[in-house]
Symmetry: C2
Subunit: 306 residues, 2 copies
């Protein structure tokens, strides 16, 4: 199996269009202490020729151009992208569909509630004769026809920001349902996970991840309240439907005892100090066995085993 | 006045995600015979600090990062982009609004019919407390408050692709109304034009453009039928709501006798041979007094006059 990180940043990317926090300032200056990142997405393939894109981000056009695996291979029209899975209905997971327009067949997989966000309005640009919409049920194993299956499972999360009630008290946080899912990629007995949004760790999730070969996991913030402390937003990671790396309830601690081959953070927010190569936070998570994902990171499991 | 071409390609950009026509192949290979281009947009400013973006393309995040003028200037949140004008409701003119999310005030100007395409669904992500929606009437001069006015005027065009009837006979081509507009930027008596979509030349348009200092004009194709001949699409430029550069009814010929300071093609389709520096078509349009716009092209009219 081959995995390719197309983007490793949380929504808005790094730098964000209207942010001059420490990390964004370094990114705009092209300072060597960190690298710019597009919004979170991973591409997966069994044969290196046909790819499934997990999350269609607003940066998808740039991500395709940056990665030769996804370039068209024959004239006049072609794409190695055979399918897209949208794990939730946020802009950073579906706006990329607006890039995939006109005269190209592919399959779009999403739960019914996420699929509904990709219908009507501007999404009418997806050619209904060519784009197969395949609603999926939670915990249903989908055969991609490309040598592996993908199964969506509920993770604690929330509905997309643009669907939120303006009454804060009405917003349900940490709910498990169709709105936010993780994806299990399976090749025989081998299991790989892409979980860009997870508001808290659960025993069920820990159990599921036991024995995983690779985990791409929600690395939104280092501390739950770092956006508030940096003056960037009044929201905690929890309020945004995401987890912190650090702390008693953070991902590093809560997954420490789970047997996972490679653990890689993706969906990393611009506020996260672990983005800086020279930070104490980076050293801390790496010492705990995690990698900080970056755009263009490739993992070929055949090579990894040989 | 300062003008900055953020993007110079037609919808889909150069290269397109699923195209391996001659120009796209060269662009994917980073061949020196042409340069890659993002989707068509021009930024305009009187003071160099506050900018209005004409067309919010899906590439807007990348366009901001590529142009220091549009970087945030102070922490924590800031943007030099004070307003956006959407000249039509196509994906390449409005999808960039999905990039401009959360905690940043700006004004969005569009005709009522185009504004309607930016409401509801995913566009709910625009913060209603911060984004001022300003519907504009045709031929109404809008004071941007930044030292210049902008007036939208109807150009021959059509409704957005994603709103088209599946019954080809029902699609009205070359209609003049609110669906497709040109923008007149005015600083006192000085006039500048941004017209990324124009299906045919009219006497009224020729008359309007007389005496313009700069014209950024629809350069979609070189020949009306080139996409058909290249096997890329069954559509002519006319069918897409755009003009060819060449021919009796083309822009070069029909604007030849109009007094215009600088004439610059933008919204150039991947199929257009004039994109190649070494092409006969490039030599022909340049000999006729046109420039082929490219991303990052800057024009400061103060410098131009000094």
């Amino acid at each position: 199996m081959q995995f390719l990180i197309l983007g490793s940043a949380a929504g808005g990317g790094l730098p964000q269009w209207n942010c001059l926090c420490e990390n964004c300032r370094l990114a705009y200056r092209r300072d060597g202490r960190l690298t710019a990142r597009t919004q979170c997405s991973v591409a997966v393939s069994a044969d290196g020729e046909n790819w499934v894109v997990l999350s269609a981000t607003p940066d998808l056009r740039q991500q395709i151009i940056s990665n030769p695996e996804l370039h068209p291979k024959c004239a006049p029209r072609h794409s190695p992208i055979k399918a897209v899975f949208a794990p939730n209905g946020d802009i950073d997971n579906i706006a990329g569909l607006l890039v995939m327009r006109e005269m190209q067949p592919f399959a779009l997989f999403a739960t019914r509630s996420v699929m509904a966000h990709t219908e009507g309005g501007v999404f009418g640009v997806l050619n209904a004769d060519l784009v197969q919409r395949r609603p999926i049920a939670l915990d249903e194993s989908v055969d991609t026809g490309l040598g592996f299956t993908i199964t969506a499972f509920a993770t604690p999360g929330k509905i997309p920001l643009y669907m939120e009630s303006r009454n804060e008290a009405e917003i349900e946080l940490g709910a498990e349902g169709e709105s936010t899912v993780g994806l299990e990629i399976r090749d025989g007995d081998r299991r790989f996970y892409y979980i860009p949004s997870c508001a808290r760790m659960t025993d069920a999730l820990r159990k599921r991840l036991e024995g995983a070969e690779i985990l791409f996991f929600d690395g939104t913030t280092f501390e739950d309240d770092e956006m508030i402390r940096q003056g960037l937003s009044p929201k905690t990671a929890w309020r945004m439907g995401h987890m912190a790396m650090n702390g008693e309830r953070g991902s590093v601690r809560t997954l420490a005892d789970v047997d996972i081959g490679q653990r890689i953070f993706v969906h990393i927010n611009n506020s996260n100090p672990a983005l800086r190569h020279d930070s104490a936070e980076r050293r801390q998570v790496e010492a705990a066995g995690w990698r900080i994902g970056h755009d263009g990171l490739r993992i070929d499991t055949a090579e990894a085993r040989s």
